[in-house]
Amino acid sequence: MTENMIENTSSNDDQEKIGVYVCHCGTNIAGVVDVVQVAEWAAKYLKHRGVVIAREYKFMCSSLGQELIEKDIKELGLNRVIVAACSPHMHEKTFRTACANAGLNPFMCEMVSIREQVSWVHTDKVAATAKAKAMISGGVERVRHNVPLEPIVVPINPATLIVGGGIAGIQSALEIADAGFHVYLVEREPSIGGHMAQFDKTFPTLDCSACILTPKMFSAGSHPNITLLTYSEVEKVDGYVGNFTVTVRKKARKLDEEVCTGCGICQEKCPRKVIDDVFEAGLGYRKAIYTPFPQAVPNRPVLDVANCTYYEKGTCKACEIFCAPKAIRFDQQDEILTLQVGNIVLATGYQLFDARRITNYGYGRLTNVFTSLEIERLTNAAGPTNGNVVLRDGKTAPKTVGIIHCVGSRDKNFNNYCSAICCMQSLKFAHLIHERTGATIYNFYIDIRAASKDYDEFYQRVLEEGTLFVRGKVAEITDVPRMESEKGKLIIQVEDTLVGKQRRIPVDMVVLSAGLEARSDSKEVAKTFGISCSFNGWFIEKHPKLDPIATMTEGIFIAGCAQGPKDIPASVAQGAAAAARVLGRIEQKQMALEPVRASVIEEKCSGCRICNGLCPFNAITFHEDRMVTEINPALCQGCGTCVAACPAGAITGTGFSNEQIMAQIDGLLMLNVEPEPVTA
């Protein structure tokens, strides 16, 4: 019914003054596209479309090229600019700034990519030139419908939320707090410290994990600018960059943290022994009321209701009876806190690959098969065996130990990726176990990846210690002997690919260097915070190389293993980097958001609610009272999905409006060309 003839689409033709600038980019473009002809053509055949000037120049992006544009804007009164050059991802900013300098709204400038999309990918000069023309004509039609846009400015709340109290989170928190801004550090477990607190030594320097972590934990715990929320989880995130409102559930510890002195008598007296499958990796016991480990921060126990005799039988209360300051509160309930923060750092870490999934390695079935975390605890002086490496019987020291690399990693049945830390970790185990037991150590590896400072040196050292390396993926670990020598042992069946032979190697203990996996709930977490997750659960960074800290959602940053497997130095670095980014934001006090946004024309909106469920950033809200939908510009990320979905055409999108795109289609199809169409 509405015929979209170009003549009547554009608003007041006479006023459009468009300048077209064709770049040679040296010979990059000019070598294939006849830029001179293109410019002349534009001037002639697009005159009636408002093109008042068309120039070609060696390097438009050079200061001289930019001045050319600025000059024309001032002298010819251009109100729209087309730069036919490289990809907008390359120089859009450059030319928009140039326009702004000349007093033209930067969003009145559009780029046409005739390098990446024409000269670099086509060889036929005639066809390439024709395509360049078509693309410029498309750009011209589009820019006719551009409107001046002003960036949306939002204030930045100086407080920051950091989720995850592992080393990455702690580092981030300290950096920001030291800079004098407030930080809320939320940790799911009763204490901060994360996986690093479970380790004994750290590769390659073998310095004691606790010794370097504890001070950081302590300062995080005691820092005036850090509010520690342990044993707590984020339930809801509303708002947008600079103005997030976060709902946190502080799980009931069943004791008054203020009153409690952390003396530990309650743990001593608690009669209930529970397997600790978090901190002790299932290898040790804790009480029903416990702090996960002595150096825990905060040094306040939690009462594990699920395993407490009192909550089962209604009697006991040993902890309460013996607690001198009377801190136990059996009736304590979960607390819901609402925090106002400007930025969020997600450092939720990883979880260990469940080695039981590889049945032929027998973890969970064969008593003396251990996972890496279990070994960390075994080797840890503060661990269940005080650092004695023993078999599961709790006494016997192994004489031979097989360490298997890449368990659940680099394996298309489980995870394709390399978990990055397993090689070094296995070498560390080889060293530690040999040191503690004098046992013969076998390493079964696919490749050794020791590519970081001092890593390969450590590998050399372990080699020199006489550790045996067998190159090959282990097929099976079995306790079924075939000969006397195998009786009572675990037999590792493997093809030694260097010798090209099948080998059966009997050992006393097997260590599975299990890979790193994203937290099983990472997808929900991503949804809560409105960021994206790769299919194997790692959070997706804004750019894999140039911005591995930020996410697509403004104001939300990621650090540590939550973004992908990495070792301690890398996690710390990324934690600090995230802090730096946050501090930058805080210092600006406010930030400008790209004005590419969707908005609802209320009188056209019929409240059909088609769009209501389409926004992953919760920018769309429905007003029951007025029966209309509204879009929050600060939350809107400008994807335009709702614009395209609105059945009534009641949603418009700036920067990529229907008018702009429809006009560009006509332009690309050369419907606007006069007097006679050029033959492509």
Partner: protein, 338 residues
Amino acid sequence: MSDYILYPGCSMETGARAYYDSLKAISKPIGLNLKEIDDWNCCGATEYFGISKTPAYALIARNLALAAEEANGTRKLVAPCSACYLNLVKADHYMREQPKFGRQVNEALAAGNLSYKPGSLDIHHLLDVIIYDIGLDVVEKNVVRPLKGVRVAPYLGCMVPRPDYDHRWSDHDLPVELDMLLKTLGADVVDYPLKTECCGGHMPQISPATAFEMLRRLISVADEREADVMTTICPMCQLNIDGYQGEMNGFFGTNYHMPILFFTQLMGLAFGIEPKELGFGLELVSAKNVLDAIGVKTPPEAPTPPVPPRKPRKPEGLPMPTPLTNPQIETLKKEVTK
């Protein structure tokens, strides 16, 4: 009542009659309605495929063609014999995967005015049907005489869980389906790591010494782990372990007494069906101890050694991680299938 086309295979009426009898006995209570393929023929066993490919597959494919013809209402074909199952599945798979080969086979079939369109049948092994179609809940309902205190070593043999074209099994080396079934029947399931190792196949004819060593491994491990009985889903496995156990004992001078029963026999037993209906007594290594263990009266014969009392196994030293539970396995299965 779920309908299935049945391909019994040669052994069911001969060596593995116990399997057939017990299958017939249990199929009613669990609502398994089997319709035997009319005029089925040999599956080609194991050797033929090594000798001459096309004829061998034409031979087995003939059964598929017949089954597909009869497949009105259902397209599910079930084979109780592992070898038959594997051959049927392979025939269907190769015909689908290699269209040229498929055409050759169909040319051969054309001689008998037959043809088979690969993929037109769902081919299952009996155990797969019972676990995933019928369901353990149905089995559980029928258990009236739990196999309490009977220690069973689950033995599947090599041919069913591999190659698992349709991702039906929880694992290819140590699948848990049979364990799950036995637990449902109330038996104590022995951790039997050799459950998918080779039974020797036709090795006893070719190289007895080799075969005996393979059998010794299977039987000794079951025995060390204090199994009263082994159970299998494969006539060939049953034949080897049952039939050659005596000779094997002679060969090594050992004295193993390790009866091996078909899983359907144990099901029947738990369902309270009369042992003789289930083909008990056909086995060479008597499974009387099993019957005694659950107090099924049998005419007294030679006194059998009393079953030694079990030592209680309480955890010592460091705790063990709990094995994966069935739901977990189900989810893992799904992941694999993805």
